[in-house]
């Protein structure tokens, strides 16, 4: 069932409050002497992405053409730390790419054509986010889990390609565009350094990577213009993050 914007906002507010309480709890705590100052993070993640295109239809064209397959989605993010205290507040920019394809269909019968030709639909979300990660306990008390919240704006480029590899057209309409939206992400990062501290130290010495994380996160993406193609999605991803 589709989660409404109002419900999502309630969740965002609740999670934000929880994080704020955590931050206040440790507000007076002193930073550990052996934790070095860091500047930002790089993240690489992969996961499925199924845009909610069919929300405006009874019988959706996405389901009909792609058989309900999700896009294979990858994203790279760079976060710059604005504030470091009890956790870190960062400004992040993200670039993603998702694609789904299907064998071309006979326009008359709708049957799949016996051919190697495929038609595809792809998206390139460009995001900017405010990121809060509560890593105080991980860095000072050895608790290896780091909750992370992200929220911000995105501009979603999209394109439909026909079997010939060109942008699809029907009459005056063209299957390519871009539209703004917003997103909220909640994730949990597993601090990997505790597994092998000596390797982690060597990684820092050699590459300047202070902390490494394996993470899982869930993102709610929504579009602003309800009259346009709906690229909204609730999607998860797993990835690696490196703090430098």
């Amino acid at each position: 069932m589709r989660t409404t914007n109002r419900a999502i906002l309630r969740r965002v507010a609740a999670l934000s409050c929880a994080m704020a309480v955590m931050a206040l709890t440790f507000a007076d705590a002193e930073a550990g002497g052996d934790v070095r100052e860091t500047r930002g993070m790089m993240e690489y993640k992969l996961g499925p992405y199924q845009p909610n295109v069919d929300s405006e239809f009874d019988n959706g064209p996405y389901e009909e053409f792609f058989g309900g397959s999700s896009m294979f989605y990858g994203e790279m993010a760079f976060d710059y730390h604005l504030w470091q205290g009890v956790g870190k507040l960062s400004l992040g920019i993200h670039g993603g790419y998702g694609r789904v394809s299907s064998v071309a269909r006979d326009a008359t019968t709708g049957a799949e054509v016996d051919s190697d030709e495929t038609a595809s639909f792809r998206i390139i979300p460009l995001r900017s986010s405010l990121v809060y990660r509560y890593d105080y306990s991980a860095l000072h008390h050895g608790v290896p889990l780091v909750p992370v919240l992200k929220g911000g704006l995105n501009y979603n480029l999209w394109r439909v390609k026909n079997p010939g590899g060109d942008t699809a057209t029907v009459g005056d309409t063209r299957g390519a565009g871009g539209q703004p939206g917003w997103h909220f992400t909640a994730g949990i990062h597993l601090h990997l350094d505790f597994i092998d501290p000596s390797s982690a130290a060597a990684f820092d010495m050699t590459w300047g990577i202070a902390n490494s994380y394996l993470f899982f996160e869930h993102t709610w993406t929504r579009m602003l213009d309800e009259e346009r193609i709906d690229l909204s999605a609730d999607h998860w991803a797993i990835g690696l993050a490196f703090e430098f």
Binding site: P61, L91, R105, D114, S115, E117, V170
Partner: protein, 366 residues
């Protein structure tokens, strides 16, 4: 027969089998140009330029009349480790000979007794051999190499011959008496005037963007490509490409090792095309056309057709028009927060930086 006798018989049988195997002729192998460790690289050029591959120059039916008419000079270059310009006694030749393609023998034009091999056609004139430090350059005319003077041979479809230019060379350390010390390096001109046999097209499916085919490959051994072409007008099996009306450019089938494949094409949905295939050999000769198959071009649809067809409101484009005021407000709040955060960080950094500069200046004064 007791067991001892049986054992002797078996041993004898095995020995006989091994002896037969030793005397049996070597398995058939194509006669590629010979190489020796004394020669690093070879090259062969002839105007007009033709396909050069692994020491071999290929010429086919299309090039034949020009070659016979113009009688160009073939230039063979051997780059060697031996300083032949200083010690020319370290090389011999340059020789030339020819065999029909498929002939497996390799010969050394200079025999151990000092005579020329009976299958060798001749030796390049000494005036046409130039020694440049570690390089032997030999020039020989097309006519001298092939003996062809009449262009009629180009249309007869009978000649398929390999012409070799052979250099004999030996190392500094050798005595010159031991034949085994000599090495032979060759370049080759392949003149192939026989068309490959045509493939058989068994199925063809045409869409607006591609043609997919299934076929039986040409049985000719030196075929390197199978190509698909199409024409809006019918043609007959056995027609040559240049006699077919409006053949759209033949394109090599993807998936060359299999008996099916696909080419890209730009076709009009619902139209009729006649699809054919040809084979192309190493020398670039095309076979005659396969029997054509008539195909109606299938009109394909994509996701955009489905979306618009279902009544989707999107028209495409990159505008930022919004209608949802609730979300818009949230977006502005988030945007303001992000800009504020960036501004605050910038200001903080400047303050810290200024303080650091002041402190550094004070330290300097002390």
């Amino acid at each position: 027969m007791n067991s001892k006798s049986m054992h002797q018989v078996m041993t004898a049988a095995i020995a006989a089998a091994l002896a037969l195997a030793a005397w049996a002729p070597a398995p058939a192998q194509a006669h590629s140009p010979q190489t020796t460790r004394f020669v690093d690289a070879v090259n062969i050029t002839m105007e007009p330029n033709h396909r050069f591959d692994n020491g071999t120059l290929y010429a086919g039916i299309e090039q034949c009349p020009t070659l016979v008419d113009s009688n160009p000079t073939l230039n063979a270059i051997f780059e060697t480790t031996v300083l032949v310009a200083v010690e020319p006694e370290l090389y011999g030749g340059v020789y030339h000979y020819n065999f029909p393609r498929g002939e497996e023998r390799q010969i050394s034009c200079r025999r151990t007794d000092g005579d020329m091999h009976e299958d060798c056609a001749g030796q390049v004139d000494e005036d046409d051999v130039v020694l440049v430090e570690n390089e032997v350059d030999a020039d020989i005319t097309f006519e001298t190499l092939t003996g062809l003077t009449n262009v009629d041979v180009c249309d007869q479809g009978e000649l398929d011959e390999s012409y070799y230019v052979q250099l004999r060379i030996r190392d500094y350390g050798g005595t010159g008496l031991d034949f085994a010390e000599w090495g032979f390096a060759e370049v080759r001109l392949v003149l192939d005037l026989i068309r490959p046999e045509r493939p058989v097209l068994t199925d063809a499916i045409a869409t607006e963007n591609s043609i997919r085919v299934e076929f039986d490959r040409s049985p000719t051994t030196d075929v390197r490509r199978h190509l698909v072409f199409y024409s809006p007008e019918p043609f007959a099996e056995g027609d040559l490409l240049d006699t077919i009306a409006n053949p759209r450019s033949p394109r090599a089938v993807e998936g060359e090792e299999s008996d099916s494949g696909q080419i890209t094409a730009e076709l009009e949905g619902g139209s009729t095309v006649y699809v054919g295939m040809v084979a192309r050999d190493e020398a670039g000769n095309y076979s005659a056309a396969s029997a054509p198959l008539e195909a109606t071009v299938v009109e394909t649809s994509d996701f955009w057709d489905y979306y618009i067809g279902a009544g989707g409101g999107e028209q495409g484009g990159y505008g930022c028009h919004t209608t949802s005021t609730g979300s818009t407000n949230l977006v502005w709040v988030i945007a303001a927060l992000m800009v504020s955060a960036a501004w605050w960080r910038r200001k903080t950094y400047r303050t810290e930086h200024s303080q650091a500069v002041v402190l550094a200046a004070k330290d300097g004064r002390r």
